[in-house]
């Protein structure tokens, strides 16, 4: 006999040890998120998945589901604030969707569409970030990094390596590469590593595969972020 939580009036069962996000994904309920990916340890940093649990703000991807929780998720206020948090990510880095190879397949962009984001709202930071094209097969454009740390986790948890880490503090936060030169070419990243494919934005791209699917026929050109996430993640979640 499993216990239940209530999300937006819908009662759903959860298992001991599941987070609110786990329980929601299993029940086909979408909570917007960027740094979460059910294949990896939850991180809780993007804060897009913030929900109200009995009136209190909680991060759904890390907060344990407990019997009797009454959770607000799809409210106008929460989605408006999620839009603002997404806009923060857009102004922090340098995101030029029309010229980015990831456009249409980009989860940041997809979430932006889903949250009906029409502009960046906040002033741009125009951060000076680098492009590392040194690796024969993989390119990193730091302009597009949102510090979700999925590549860090994928490298450690799936690839058994430690190619990426987060350095810096505050706004100087940055993705760093585990090699003496600091360049990707000198790291032990392989093009087939999970870490090379997990990036939700266009920060890590595989070389010589660009535009194989034309713009206009890509993931978020055809589907909303909620459908994409639920189809993909519910399957992954079967573990």
């Amino acid at each position: 006999m499993s216990e239940t939580i209530i999300i937006d009036g819908q009662e759903l069962a959860f298992e001991e040890g599941q987070t609110i996000m786990d329980a929601a994904i299993a029940a086909d309920v979408y909570i917007p998120h960027l740094c979460h990916n059910p294949d990896y340890e939850p991180h809780g940093s993007c804060k897009l998945c913030t929900v109200k649990v009995n009136g209190r703000s909680c991060t759904a991807c890390t907060f344990p589901a407990q019997a009797g929780q009454v959770i607000e998720n799809q409210t106008e206020v929460l989605n408006q604030d999620r839009q603002r948090i997404t806009q923060m990510l857009f102004v922090e880095g340098n995101h030029f969707c029309p010229s980015c190879e990831k456009t249409g397949n980009c989860q940041l962009q997809g979430v932006g569409y889903y949250l009906k984001m029409q502009d960046n709202h906040f002033p741009h930071f125009f951060a000076i970030r680098e492009v590392d094209a040194s690796h024969p097969d993989v390119l990193i454009d730091h302009n597009r990094c949102i510090f979700c740390s999925l590549c860090v986790r994928a490298s450690q948890e799936s690839d058994g390596k430690d190619v990426f880490a987060i350095g810096g503090r505050g706004l100087n936060k940055r993705l760093i590469i585990n090699s003496k030169s600091g360049k990707l070419k000198d790291s032990d990243l392989d093009v087939n590593d999970c870490a090379a494919h997990v990036c939700p934005t266009g920060a890590i791209l595989i070389k010589r595969t660009g535009y194989s699917i034309p713009i206009g026929e890509r993931i978020y050109d055809k589907q909303q972020a909620d459908e994409v996430a639920l189809t993909k993640e519910n399957k992954q979640h079967g573990k």
């Binding site: 939850p42 809780g44 940093s45 993007c46 804060k47 897009l48 913030t50 703000s57 991060t59 890390t62 344990p64 604030d81 603002r84 948090i85 923060m88 990510l89 102004v91 922090e92 906040f122 002033p123 930071f125 949102i146 510090f147 430690d162 990426f164 880490a165 987060i166 350095g167 810096g168 503090r169 505050g170 706004l171 100087n172 936060k173 940055r174 760093i176 590469i177 585990n178 003496k180």
Partner: protein, 593 residues
């Protein structure tokens, strides 16, 4: 270098948890964590080089590029500003011929700002190679410049430059007399540990860091956790600007603080304790080590304490310039040799803390009070203060008053009474609890210092009517942007956006709607941030905006919109390239006079 690093690695038993300690030693010796040092430590500790780089980049006192042989930092707290810090800094920079934030070309000296160094009652203050400088004046700066240029070793600098005074102005239950060494433990063992915990419960003692969680309950939760190891941590990362009470408690009452920790160890079943001392208090470290040695010699630490079968030891660990490490889970990460990023909770540290073992983190003053309560019993403490806030509170008072310093006062005391005691008049407002606390105006002086009204970890900064509200809020807002750890989006990006939006308005570039946009942003950062830093980072703006709305509105231009950047200024590069300065090379903006 190899020999030095080997020595450090050996001294720290090749433990990766002690990475911070090892890096601090390297920084002090070579003024940089060089590529060679990174390689040697990577090999020695068998960790990834990225772990070292990410730690160095996180802490303000560690550097990947060389600092000067004399690394001078000047405290940038609002109280330092009020004592003339900005003109002193400009003068120092000019005399040393080095820009703020830079290293002089000859590599001899570097200069920078640092967050509040805990000397607000004797500022303007600073640090030279980590050692505290107080009461900086123009003549003293002249002397420092000469000493630096003559390459005089720090040990030969006049000792009066480094004097830190306690400035205790008012004592009560805790500070009037210290307990006799060992008496808290002896009494507790005689009374029984469970009964002593009951006394602590009866006393009503709540955490003195500011959050106010009931101490006895926290100890009970931690004691109830089944584990092979429990840890006691004393949080002496006193980083809240305007707070300096722990500095005094550790300088003069360290025995009692350590006794409180040992008592806690006996009750929760811990064998190991840490004092996490903020890096700015390096000058206290040697004396504290001596106190620990004395306690060992007296059978109050080590094996079989007081022949009661209690084994407990305390290790001092130094912070390295990160305000966030005052947050208990960030502090634990730092103790583990990592970046000070607050953890996701649950689990709470009492369940899973240092090395994922049950860990009890309390403030310095909490341990001091617990030791005293063990001796006196809970009733004496409970008799003081208010119903919800028992006992006394040690305030560190600074700013515009005749007698800054330490005041121990019963909870429930009004701000007006405090102001009379310390000799403050013509008061514009008081920042209670530091930037993360509450700004109150002269109309609210009958409010009380208590958890149920104005909660404070001890910071109490007074501003008189000559002070500028915007200068205060600006200093605090910039402080939070500088200290945000960067983990979560709302705080990392939000605190910088707050800084931009606030400056835009105060600098006279705000237009209709900009105050509203500022309020919305405050709300986002407060509601969605991961930890207390972000959740309180907007307080200086929220509180001053609420009390002085007209002041903000008066800064706004009479136009509907002005962009966040200066159009004309952004053409400067083009003007320089084309060598033009005529009127057509400038762009007027709607609303410009």
């Amino acid at each position: 270098m190899k020999g030095f690093i080997q020595e450090q690695l050996t001294r720290n038993a090749y433990q990766a948890e002690r990475l911070l300690t090892i890096l601090q030693a390297i920084q002090a010796e070579f003024h940089v964590i060089s590529e060679e040092a990174i390689s040697l430590v990577t090999e020695g500790l068998k960790i990834e080089r990225t772990q070292i780089i990410s730690v160095v980049e996180f802490y303000s006192f560690l550097h990947l590029t060389p600092r000067g042989e004399y690394d001078i930092l000047i405290s940038d707290s609002i109280t330092d500003h009020m004592l003339g810090k900005q003109s002193l800094m400009a003068y120092l920079s000019e005399q040393l011929a080095v820009d703020v934030g830079a290293v002089r070309a000859d590599g001899l000296v570097s200069l920078d700002n640092t967050s509040c160094s805990g000397m607000c009652d004797q500022g303007p203050a600073g640090l030279v190679n980590g050692h505290t400088l107080t009461q900086l004046t123009l003549p003293r700066i002249d002397a420092i410049v000469q000493l630096v240029n003559a390459k005089t070793p720090l040990a030969e600098w006049p000792s009066e430059f480094f004097v830190v005074t306690d400035n205790v102005q008012k004592t009560d239950f805790l500070l009037t007399s210290d307990i006799e060494q060992g008496s808290a433990l002896n009494t507790a063992f005689q009374r029984g540990l469970t009964a002593t915990l009951e006394e602590l419960d009866l006393s009503g003692l709540r955490g003195r860091g500011g959050a106010g969680f009931t101490t006895a309950m926290k100890w009970k939760f931690c004691a109830a956790e089944q584990s092979d190891m429990h840890y006691v941590v004393c949080n002496a990362d006193e980083g809240e600007p305007g707070t300096f009470k722990d500095r005094v408690l550790l300088n003069t009452h360290a025995h009692q603080v350590f006794e409180g920790m040992t008592l806690c160890a006996a009750i929760i079943g811990a064998e190991k304790g840490f004092l996490y001392l903020r890096g700015e208090y390096l000058y206290l470290q040697d004396a504290l080590e001596t106190v620990l040695e004395e306690r060992h010699a007296n059978g109050l630490l080590g094996k079989n304490i007081l022949q009661q079968g209690l084994d407990f030891d305390i290790e001092i660990r130094l912070g390295a310039g990160a305000y966030i490490c005052g947050e208990e889970s960030a502090l634990i990460e730092s103790l583990e040799g990592k970046r000070g990023i607050p953890r996701n909770r649950p689990p709470y540290p009492v369940v899973s803390g240092y090395l994922n073992k049950p860990t009890l983190v309390n403030n310095v003053e909490t341990f001091l009070a617990a030791a005293k309560i063990a001796v006196t019993g809970g009733a004496a403490f409970k008799a003081l203060g208010t119903e919800q806030s028992a006992g006394t509170k040690i305030l560190s008072i600074c700013g515009d008053c005749a007698h800054p310093g330490i005041y121990e006062l019963p909870f429930g005391v009004t701000v007006r009474e405090v102001l009379e005691l310390c000799g403050a008049d013509e008061v514009l407002g008081v920042q209670v609890g530091g930037p993360s606390g509450t700004f109150i105006s002269y109309e609210e002086l009958d409010r009380k210092i208590a958890f149920e009204d104005l909660s404070t970890g001890g910071s109490f900064i007074i501003f008189n009517k000559t002070r500028d509200i915007f200068a205060i809020a600006k200093n605090f807002t910039h402080f939070f942007a500088h200290e945000s750890c960067g983990f979560c989006t709302p705080c990392r990006v939000g605190t910088s956006l707050l800084k931009k939006q606030f400056d835009k308005i105060v600098d006279g570039h705000g237009s209709a709607g900009d105050v509203k946009a500022l309020e919305e942003l405050c709300d986002l950062v407060t509601q969605y941030s991961h930890c207390g830093l972000g959740q309180t980072a907007a307080n200086p703006i929220i509180h001053t905006l609420k009390r002085f709305p007209a002041l903000y509105q008066a800064q706004l231009k009479n136009i509907s919109y002005e962009p966040g950047f200066d159009l004309d200024a952004s053409l400067e590069v083009a003007r320089q390239l084309s060598g033009r300065e005529d009127t057509h090379a400038h762009l007027a903006q709607v609303g410009d006079e």
